[in-house]
């Protein structure tokens, strides 16, 4: 087990190196750089720019060096936690993202828990009561959640929350708490605002999740070992949990790899509509203004989390399913 995990870690190194090269090439691809966009912006506003200053900045940030050298500097910097400098915010990238990461993680984590808490019981009910009124009704609600665009739902919820509960529009805390250290009052205010993005982001995920839990469980319920368990005198619910439900969990665990990246990137549009101080809007903005180190580091972080997520789900699958743990593949 230890050597398996160790080997999985070794596999991660070339993957991450390749990802970083890909990310760096991608953000270099569009013509021009941040300073060009910056100069254009200033000129459009009718201001003059001192070309010497721009030239100075270019040298200062190493833009006169060849591309591979800049890549090398960026990549090695990341190893020691230096993600580069954001031109737009005029701050190190770490500080720009760091502040918002906390809120992002809270929103996403609560959303994931919300999704699971709703989706699993409903999925199990739907599968065990297939084609009943309850199944149809819950399926309908789920599809409704899937079909309504998130931004629309976000606007409606924001309006209703303001009408009924007087919650301030937008953001994750009341304006008076912005920039203050976390205290009890701020925490309550966060909770007051949190449920809107959680429901908005959660509905579509929940609906998809219900469908998948239901489909996977239905497949398993038809298997003969379920009949075996019933013939042994196993009470229905205990049998359901021990055999088919556990078998149907595989898909769900394989999914963890995809969940981690959404922890920091997910639901950008909703975040903009609700003006949440999460990381999603920053990524979009950074890509628009060619703030390359910010965007690049951000994408790198996504890649890193994906690799870690896949690792976690692989290890969990091996723990849970003896067939994966003990059986090898056949080669021709």
């Amino acid at each position: 087990m230890v050597s398996y995990i160790f080997k999985r870690f070794l596999y991660m190194i070339p993957t991450l190196v390749l990802t970083s090269i890909l990310v760096f090439t991608l953000i270099e691809l569009p013509p021009g750089d941040y300073f060009e966009s910056y100069v254009n912006e200033l000129r459009a506003a009718g201001e003059t720019v001192d070309p010497k200053l721009i030239e100075y900045l270019r040298t200062e940030y190493g833009f006169d060096k060849p591309i591979w050298e800049r890549y090398f500097q960026w990549a090695t910097g990341m190893l020691v936690g230096d993600f580069g400098y954001s031109f737009e915010y005029e701050l190190p990238v770490r500080e720009v993202i760091g502040d918002r990461l906390f809120f992002t993680i809270i929103v996403t984590f609560v959303t994931i828990i919300f999704t699971w808490l709703i989706a699993f019981p409903i999925g199990i009910y739907s599968a065990t009561h297939q084609y009943s009124w309850g199944d149809y009704g819950l399926t309908f609600l789920g599809l409704l959640g899937l079909a309504i665009p998130n931004f629309l739902l976000a606007l409606i919820m924001m309006f209703l929350a303001n009408e009924w509960f007087g919650t301030t529009i937008g953001g994750l805390v009341d304006p008076e708490f912005v920039g203050q250290p976390l205290g009890w009052a701020k925490f309550v205010s966060v909770l007051e605002h949190l449920w809107i993005p959680v429901i908005v982001i959660g509905t579509s995920g929940t609906a998809a999740m219900i469908r998948r839990v239901r489909a996977n469980l239905l497949d398993e319920l038809r298997k003969p070992y379920v009949t075996t368990a019933r013939a042994k005198g196993m009470p229905e619910f205990r049998g359901l949990m021990k055999y088919p439900f556990r078998m149907s969990l595989n898909f769900f665990i394989a999914d963890i790899g995809g969940i981690l990246p959404t922890v920091i990137s997910g639901a950008e549009i909703v975040a903009i509509v609700l003006s949440l101080e999460t990381t999603g809007p920053i990524l979009i903005q950074a890509l628009q203004s060619q703030d390359m180190y910010l965007a690049g580091s951000f994408l790198m972080l996504l890649g890193f989390l994906t690799v870690i997520g896949v690792l976690i789900s692989d290890i969990a699958l091996a723990c849970l399913d003896p067939r994966i743990r003990l059986q090898g593949g056949v080669s021709r």
Binding site: M1, Y4, A231, G233, M234, R332
Partner: protein
């Protein structure tokens, strides 16, 4: 003790299923009874409702099933209560949970799927015990290991920790039997308990069930389609057809004096070993449409017009064929080692023009791999396959490009599973014209007449062509598969278990059809099967395979009269006959499967100084034995 002694009495039971197209009556008023310690067999074809009866007794029917009437009286000899009507209880009644697994338990058909792949054997076997008796985990474990030992696990405490996929099919079925017996129930329902097993393993499992049944005095309700199994196991027989009982009685009456026409027909439809030359199986329902004679003549002429090979000699020759597979063994530590599996080991045989060679062996013996190597669907590791053509013997394994395409027309295959071997999204018309399209043989119009001829040749009506495979039964689909294989006028036909997925009555039809076609069209064929009786019916010569090796080859008369290899002998002795005078001898014969090669004796094993060699017994009869062995001793 309660007043009446009957253990289980089913009276006028009616069960139906709600389907989208309406109600289907699966069981229509069935009555029978089981006495304590008795073995009762319910015999019937698929769809006869026999499994539904079993599920009704335990009340584990699917949700869309309804019990419309009748009673299932269960009188537990362990308590003093009166008989309880299981069919009348509420689905959530606690007594049902007590009966299931505790007083009446079940053995299932497919030991792989009947066990959960995620839980250890011990966990699953022990579950019934833990549910019905309060035991400490240590007691439960020792009881479980005891029952595993009883059903023949060589190392019970290791077996306890193992997962189903780590065990062979026979051991898995033993685990399922252990699971059924662990609470010492009054009755075991065995639903096709040996159908998925090889014939030698089947004999072992049947012997085990008989032994345990005597030991614990458990009643067995055996559900099967195999009259051979019934003759060897049952005290009482109930024959069921379309949800109704055709005939019931003790085993003597049923086999010696069958009364009902259905039962008589069922018995006539089974191929057996004493068939005379040219004797035909009588198929149960005579659905064979008359094949238009002129169509057959026309097609036969087309087949015979082909090139008959330049030289005399065998039509197909296989020499020293070998195929290795690499298996990667996964493990928690390191990469695991690659293991080499020899699936086919030094196999040689010849098939003459127009001859049918039967290839027999248990699952995993390499039969299908041989057929794939001949088709060049797999690359052989060593050896050669050659086909007699106008250019002399052509090495098939060296063919490529155009020549390979031309070869593909000459060798065609009929597959085992008629359900998955036809594309469900193609009409029969498309399925049958595809070979012409692939080989660019004919225009759409030109091949239409051929397709019409083909579909009639296999005994189906032309109007079937516009329909999809799902609207046909298993037997009809297999006919379509045969028609597709014949479309290109092949010279060699490889039949890979063509009837093992079919019911007895349908099996008889398909076997007759294959036999007729082979004779009328002069096809050379390789017939692969695990069923010796079936091979005996169609083949001229028989080759026996075991663990990738061809251990014995002979004409069928020689093989059945005078088997030499211990594996062949074991295979022949393990076949259950539907004949009360030729029962399996469970007590005296140890039925060895290929796994027990150690018991073969020095004569048939390779030794340090000598390998294995084909030893001639008689003209055309060879057996694989140690090259240093005493030949006269073998021949004796």
């Amino acid at each position: 003790m309660s007043v009446s002694s009957t253990l289980l009495e089913v009276k006028d039971l009616k069960v139906s299923f709600d389907l989208q197209k309406g109600k289907i009556e699966a069981v229509k008023g069935v009555s029978f009874s089981v006495e304590p310690g008795e073995v009762v067999a319910i015999v019937g074809e698929s769809g006869s409702g026999k499994s539904v009866i079993a599920q009704t007794i335990l009340r584990i029917l699917p949700r869309n099933a309804n019990i419309d009437g009748g009673t299932v009286l269960f009188n537990d000899p362990a308590d003093n209560n009166d008989a309880i009507n299981l069919a009348g209880l509420d689905a959530k009644d606690e007594y049902l949970y007590e009966v299931r697994g505790g007083r009446i338990s079940m053995v299932f058909q497919e030991p792989m799927t009947a066990l959960s792949p995620l839980h250890t054997i011990g966990n699953q076997v022990q579950e019934a015990l833990v549910l019905h008796h309060t035991k400490t985990s240590r007691e439960a474990r020792s009881d479980t290991e005891e029952i595993l030992r009883l059903v023949g696990f060589p190392n019970p405490s290791l077996g306890y920790e193992m997962y189903p996929f780590e065990l062979s099919g026979g051991l898995r079925q033993r685990a399922v039997i252990a699971m059924a017996l662990i609470c010492n129930p009054a009755m075991v329902i065995a639903d096709e308990p040996t159908t998925a097993l090889d014939v030698t393993v089947q004999a072992q499992i049947l012997g085990l069930m008989k032994e345990l049944q005597k030991k614990f005095n458990t009643a067995i309700l055996m559900i099967t389609h195999d009259l051979g199994v019934v003759a060897n196991m049952a005290d009482k027989v109930v024959v069921i057809y379309h949800g109704e009982i055709m005939e019931a009685g003790n085993v003597e009456e049923i086999f010696r004096r069958p009364q009902h026409p259905y039962l008589k027909a069922l018995m006539a439809a089974i191929p057996h070993f004493d068939m005379k030359e040219g004797e035909r199986l009588v198929s149960l329902r005579d659905s064979e449409a008359d094949k238009p004679a002129d169509t057959i003549h026309k097609l036969a002429a087309k087949f015979r017009a082909q090139d008959l090979g330049k030289i005399n000699g065998p039509h197909l020759k296989v020499e020293n064929l070998r195929k290795e597979f690499l298996i990667k063994k996964g493990s928690w530590f390191g990469s695991g080692e690659n293991k080499k599996i020899v699936a086919v080991d030094n196999v040689s045989f010849e098939i003459n023009r127009g001859e049918c060679l039967g290839l027999v062996g248990e699952s995993g013996s390499g039969k299908t791999t041989v057929s794939k190597l001949i088709m060049k669907a797999l690359e052989a590791t060593e050896g050669s396959v050659s086909l007699n053509t106008s250019e002399g013997m052509t090495d098939v394994l060296a063919l490529s490009g155009q020549e390979l395409m031309a070869f593909r027309r000459k060798v065609q295959m009929i597959f085992q599973d008629p359900f998955s071997s036809l594309n469900p999204r193609m009409t029969i018309q498309n399925i049958l014209s595809e070979p012409y399209v692939i080989h660019r043989l004919n225009t759409a119009k030109g091949c239409q007449q051929d397709i019409l001829d083909l579909i009639q040749l296999v005994g189906m009506e032309p109007h079937c062509l516009n329909r999809y495979p799902h609207s046909f039964s298993g037997g009809q689909r297999q006919r379509i598969g045969i028609a597709r294989a014949l479309a290109l006028h092949p010279e060699v036909m490889i039949c890979d278990e063509p009837v093992s997925a079919l019911d007895v009555s349908v099996q008889a039809q398909i076997l007759n059809l294959l036999n007729d076609l082979r004779k009328e069209l002069g096809l050379t064929s390789l017939f692969i099967s695990h069923n010796l009786a079936v091979v005996n019916y169609v083949a001229d010569r028989i080759a026996v395979m075991c663990q990738g090796k061809l251990v014995e080859i002979a004409s069928k008369e020689q093989l059945f009269a005078n088997p030499h290899h211990p594996y062949t002998k074991s295979l022949l002795s393990a076949v259950p006959y539907p004949d009360l005078d030729r029962l399996l001898d469970f007590e005296n014969i140890k039925y060895t499967s290929s796994m027990d090669a150690d018991d073969w004796g020095a004569t048939f094993k390779s030794s340090q100084d000598a390998g294995l060699e084909n030893i001639r017994i008689d003209s055309g009869h060879y057996v694989l034995a140690n090259s240093n062995c005493n030949r006269s001793e073998i021949r004796a």
